[in-house]
Amino acid sequence: MTVSDRLHARVQAYVAATCASGEEPEPFDLLACDLARFQASCGNGLERLLAARRLAPEDLLAAADIPAIPTDAFKLRRIACHEPAADTAVFRTSGTTVGARGTHAMRSTATYEAAARAWARVMLFPDQTPMHVLLLAPPPHQALDSSLGFMLALFGRTFGSDARWLIDGAALKLDDLREAVANAAQVGGPVFLAGASFGFVHLLDSLHGDRLALPAGSRVMQTGGFKGKSREVESGELRREIASAFGLDDQAVLGEYGMTELSSQAYEGTLRAALGYGAPSGPAGVYHAPPWMRVVAVEPETLEPVEPGHVGIARVVDLANVDSAVVVQTADQIRTRAGGFELLGRAPSATPRGCSIGVDELLGRT
């Protein structure tokens, strides 16, 4: 058993235990630091950040001590503790006209899958009702490097038996959606509809105001921004439009926060609140991370944590990132709230643009 294998096993045990009982099998900080030491030893770039701070791996005592790998670095070099030949999955960030694409290589997807399934069960399927699964995305064979596609396929296999993919190439399969909704209404049972936010905008535009009422107990998960792929719609408005189009309560439409560089996801707690479950639950706009993921708002100029309730950029400690980067520095603005965090969009650069190209534009940080 390799060091990586042992760490995967420890993280999977942590996921299972914290979801089952809320009890940690070992301290979060201990596991995070062991992951960091492993990653620094394999030369994923963390060792350079430690050296720049004059820290040795053995100096790490808490997750807060671990320097974060910026998401931009995933676009410039391989952030992985294994050789490319050992990759079982390689996820890439979506590209823009100019933007580079970040790469997240995985030696094993077992921990990713365990973590994604476990938190989805808590946040998306707490009532454990079997679902008809409709996925507003191209099937995995058309988007092999999409982490979202991988996750949706996993949800399709785990939480339903008849998952249908509603995008073929770039084309929306509206007739398939209508048929699937009609079928769900006929045979009974709720629907789980999931996809990227821009996909929902296209879907709503294609419906031209038509309504496709989903059966009682149905829910919708939407994720990500628009990235120039559709018109931009304010998140609250998109939620209302989706809810209205599918005859759902607003609370049955919830957002997911995830990114290619991470292996874990956070969700809004509206569905749990609507179903009468306790924490983690709450209002729209507040995302809840699983116990193995810590999202901290940091000051962008110092990378030090901001006071609770203040706006900072998200530094994410993700224990499920076993073979890549246990701490990732994003450019997403957040504000921590009781039990979760608000997502406030990309931190705007203070640099005036004019005709000068922006680094954001080049690196596809949209």
Partner: protein, 361 residues
């Protein structure tokens, strides 16, 4: 207008600029506030980058390349305040009537320039205004980001003639046959001007061979510290620089230099550029590499040091529209036409929008 009229109009603007640069008075402080440059940065721009002494040959070339229209309209970007001179000169050579809209961020230089025109007739023919509404057959010259240009074009009548100069950056090429310390000093000169906010400003340097790339990065760090003493950097987005430094540390090597620094990369997975201020990405290349693949359309300027052709033939061939100059002179382009040579000629608004949408050169 005949050729002499056009030359006279351009020369009048150049003379006005010279008077302004010689006696800036309280303009310096206003420019400092508007641009975010340091006082020394404003002085440097007025002293060395405002084109107050073009040659006769340059004036003839500028006028010869201009179009002809009953009226020309100019919409300026804010990042390089001295660029207003060339932009208005091009418009004044194009048409007897010129309307100029300044950026809301920097609307200091152009009014000052126009107020220094001593020829009343010329002064009255060039007006600064808030709203620009060109009619069919008139020219509009646009400076700014691709997105802003596309947005403006979307509101134009189809028969308006557009000359659009959009998003770009400068690329430095350091080939063999040059002292690395000389190349470093020259490159830093190009970086210091306008704190790298211009679309000609170098943000990426390619160097033939890893050892020379390392030497350049080290020499630049030293030069940048010295430059900071002479011309301090102005307002900065420190968060951008922190992110740049962290990313550089993970992806390559970082050489700290006062309020900025140099990132040295070997074989990055994708192209990367430094944020404005006093920052540079140095990439070690081998022959036939093209580390700007996919970005060619954004390369507005190339500064060359040493024998670039032998090592960067592929890069040079991929960026035929870039304005090429000696390293150290990237921010002093000849006054012979627009600084941006990527899109010569006029286009319809629709063609410009299409070009931006396609991301084509």
């Amino acid at each position: 207008m005949n050729h002499e009229d056009r030359i006279r109009r351009v020369r009048a603007l150049v003379c006005a600029a010279k008077r302004l640069a010689d006696h800036p008075g309280e303009l310096r402080e206003r420019l400092q506030r508007a641009t975010g440059l340091s006082a020394q940065g404003v002085d440097l721009a007025l002293r060395e980058h405002l084109e107050t002494q073009p040659t006769e040959e340059e004036l003839v070339a500028l006028v010869g390349g201009a179009g002809s229209a009953p009226r020309a309209h100019v919409i300026l970007s804010a990042n390089v305040f001295t660029a207003g001179l060339r932009a208005i000169a091009l418009a004044a050579a194009t048409a007897p009537l010129v309307s100029v809209r300044c950026s809301t961020r920097e609307n200091v230089f152009v009014p000052a320039l126009l107020s220094h025109l001593d020829d009343t007739e010329i002064r009255q023919s060039i007006v600064e205004c808030q709203e620009i509404s060109p009619a069919a057959g008139e020219e509009i010259h646009l400076y700014g980001s691709d997105e802003s240009i596309a947005e403006i074009c979307a509101g134009l009548a189809p028969d308006v003639l557009v000359r659009a100069h959009g998003t770009g950056f400068g690329l430095a090429l350091v080939g063999p046959g040059v002292e690395i310390e000389d190349a470093a000093r020259a490159l830093v000169r190009d970086m210091v001007a306008f704190d790298q906010h211009g679309c000609l400003s170098p943000r990426l340097a390619l160097v033939c061979g890893h050892e020379r790339a390392l030497a350049l990065a080290q020499a630049m760090a030293v030069s940048l510290v010295q430059a900071e003493q002479d011309v301090p950097v102005g307002a900065l987005d420190r968060a951008d620089i922190v992110r740049f430094r962290q990313t550089a540390t993970v992806a390559g090597e970082w050489f700290d230099a006062s309020l900025g620094g140099v990132a040295l990369l070997s074989q990055p997975m994708s192209a990367w550029i430094a944020p404005p201020g006093r920052n540079m990405v140095v990439v070690a290349c081998a022959q036939e590499d093209n580390p700007v693949a996919g970005l060619e359309r954004h390369v507005a300027a190339i500064g060359v040091s040493g024998d670039a052709e032998s090592c960067f033939g592929a890069v040079l061939a991929a960026c035929p529209g870039a304005r090429t100059s000696e390293l150290g002179r990237m921010q002093r382009p000849r006054f012979d036409g627009p600084v941006d040579l990527r899109h010569p000629g006029v286009q319809s608004p629709r063609a410009v929008i299409e070009r931006v949408r396609r991301g084509s050169p």
